[in-house]
């Protein structure tokens, strides 16, 4: 083991330990009261009214923060036995609760403290990223954080200007911002990156235009109203289009930068390489990544419908009906992003050849 690697591991280990210890003891940061559950008694009951078996839980616990720190309280919780909805409380859980004015009673359990699990996973992600990919991993991490920043900014703007802005035009602007910033931050500021940015923007708008057209022509009966959170927006259709626009954006950016940097490398190795040869090797390179990306898209976007569809078919809905009701929007998004992935290849190739290998006349002039 080299000395460098040892230092890296020690730093990562320290960072991980500190983050995890911190998040396990961050109660003092919370305004909401947190109840540490010390005892749970479950009573199983069959409800006639709600058609299901449920637990009547009697929960004892100690408040961990705020004015009533250290106070012991008891609270009742009713929850479906299968855990479809609500929280099945277990001993050791930490609950976010709303207390009465004097702190002796609990009015409502508003949630479970889950921040620690997210932090554990995030720490694991960073550790594995740095250990496996080193410098490149660090770059990926930075581009990841930049992307989160832009997403947060877009959401912030929209939350503020909610009534005056058109959702779709806002996100078209935002996606250009994503492309330019994230490619410029993670790559050298040169011709190669410029070519990738132009390719990505052109691919995005051509493929989005195609999807838009196809949906306008044939997609009148898509069950947009079953989309999650649809009630939060006024512009139902635009909300759907924004999902489609963003879903394939990352993939388009990746194809653009992969193609332009590999073509750039080929030109640097052999400045006299012909355009036809460039296009041919570009195609070979992209063939390898297309399959991967489409599969990633499918599993990541389509599998999350499983719990909802499962509940529906358990309630005697047929699988076809349940899938077209709750899965159609996601499947359309998978398809349109896959189409953008495939379209991005010839577009990126063409743009890259045009920018990186200007014809002889231009060079002379």
């Amino acid at each position: 083991m080299s000395k460098n690697l040892k230092i890296k591991i020690i730093v990562l280990l320290l960072f991980s330990l500190i983050s995890i210890i911190f998040v396990y003891n961050d109660h003092f940061l919370y305004k909401t009261s947190i109840l540490k559950v010390t005892e749970v008694k479950n009573e199983t009951k069959k409800s006639t009214m709600f058609r299901e078996t449920y637990y009547n839980q009697i929960i004892k616990g100690i408040i961990k923060n705020g004015k009533y720190k250290g106070q012991e309280v008891t609270v009742e919780n009713i929850v479906a036995k299968t855990g479809v909805y609500g929280e099945i409380v277990r001993k050791g859980n930490e609950l976010l609760v709303e207390t009465s004015k004097d702190g002796t009673e609990i009015i409502e359990i508003s949630g479970v403290k889950r921040d620690k699990y997210l932090v554990i996973l995030f720490v694991l992600f960073i550790d594995s990223l740095i250990l496996v990919a080193g410098k490149k991993g660090f770059k990926t991490l930075i581009s990841f954080i930049v992307n989160i920043g832009i997403s947060a900014l877009a959401i912030f703007i929209f939350q503020k200007k909610f009534n005056t802005l058109n959702l779709l035009s806002l996100y078209m602007g935002v996606s250009i911002l994503f492309i330019v910033l994230s490619l410029f931050i993670t790559n050298k500021r040169d011709r190669k990156t410029a070519s990738a940015i132009i390719s990505a923007i052109v691919s995005l708008f051509i493929s989005f235009g195609l999807s838009f057209l196809l949906i306008k022509l044939y997609g009148k009966d898509i069950s947009i109203w079953t989309m999650e959170y649809i009630e939060a927006v006024y512009e139902y259709e635009n909300f759907f289009y924004v999902t489609i626009l963003l879903c394939g954006l990352g993939a388009i950016m990746d194809i653009a930068i992969t193609i332009s940097s590999s073509l750039n490398e080929l030109i640097e190795k052999d400045p006299n390489i012909t355009k036809a040869a460039l296009i041919k090797s570009g195609r070979e390179i992209s063939k390898d990544i297309v399959g991967t990306m489409i599969n990633v898209m499918l599993y990541a976007c389509y599998t999350p419908i499983v719990p909802l569809v499962f509940i529906a078919i358990k309630n005697d809905m047929s699988l076809t009906n349940a899938l077209s009701l709750y899965g159609e929007v996601d499947l359309v998004a998978v398809f349109t992003s896959s189409i953008s992935i495939v379209l991005a290849i010839p577009i990126s190739l063409y743009v890259a050849v045009l920018i990186l290998k200007p014809s002889k006349k231009e060079v002379l002039g």
Binding site: F50, E87, A133, T258, V290, L323, I339
Partner: protein, 255 residues
């Protein structure tokens, strides 16, 4: 609608990727079929977790062996995929169980309100199964890309030892990793906009502990971890098996 999109996708794949594109299309539909099979068998009463593991194995078997053929590359990939699957399973099991990640939040109450909650299985198991299937696509593809690339490298440079081979496998893996992370981020985050619009005005501490938020973030992070972990594993196992295959081949020819 789906039929038209399928046709457009198939035509584009054939134009851009030729026979490779056709393979991708078959894999795509095979995967959709497997997800449907999962739902049907789960309805029939099979345990969601065991079933998910079987479906993941089926996905790996079919994508690797049917599409890429039975050979040392695909066998190596299969072993590495199974190791990652076991690790991720342990991780998800602990996190979902302890963090109450199962089930739905308030915003879905209108959708699920009409259904009976007596579905005969614990939602925790359904959730764990879903996460396992979510990551399998990424893991399979990263793995097979690495082992194929390493095989090619070895074929062109027979003199490489297993250490150098491991290094080149890691290099290929890192390139794939960077693109996978970007792709996954946008694919999953496109669902987040609605969430934040719904909860505008909510405090940070509310959102970070919220169930629906945790569900999506966990999916994102688990997929990241899976697609990163598979890289050194595949590279390491391939560097050993590919090299030993060459040695065996060499010995055979000598006699």
């Amino acid at each position: 609608m789906i039929t038209i999109l399928s046709i457009v996708l198939l035509v584009l794949l054939l134009l851009v990727g030729r026979s490779r594109g056709f393979k991708t299309f078959i894999t795509f539909y095979l995967s959709i079929f497997l997800i449907m099979l999962y739902l049907l068998l789960m309805k029939a009463g099979l345990n969601p977790i065991i079933l998910a593991i079987v479906i993941c194995m089926l996905a790996a078997l079919s994508i690797l062996f049917i599409i890429n053929g039975i050979n040392i590359k695909t066998k190596t990939s299969f072993i590495s995929i199974m190791i990652v699957l076991i690790f991720i399973f342990t991780l998800i099991f602990i996190i979902v169980k302890r963090g109450n990640i199962q089930g739905f939040s308030v915003e879905s109450i209108e959708t699920i309100g009409g259904y009976s909650y007596d579905i005969g299985v614990d939602m925790i198991d359904v959730m764990i199964g879903m996460y396992l299937i979510c990551i399998i696509g990424t893991v399979i593809d990263t793995s097979i890309s690495i082992s194929s690339a390493m095989n090619e490298v070895l074929e062109n440079n027979q003199h490489l030892d297993s250490k150098e081979l491991f290094k080149s496998g890691m290099n290929v893996g890192r390139d794939i990793m960077a693109t996978t992370i970007n792709t996954l981020y946008f694919a999953i985050v496109s669902n987040f906009i609605g969430f934040f619009l719904w909860h505008r005005g909510s405090s940070f501490e509310f959102i970070i502990n919220y169930k629906a938020f945790a569900q999506e973030v966990i999916q994102l992070l688990i997929s990241f971890i899976g697609s990163i972990m598979i890289i050194p594993l595949t590279a390491y196992i391939s560097s050993k098996t590919l090299k030993s295959k060459k040695i065996l081949y060499f010995l055979k020819n000598k006699n």
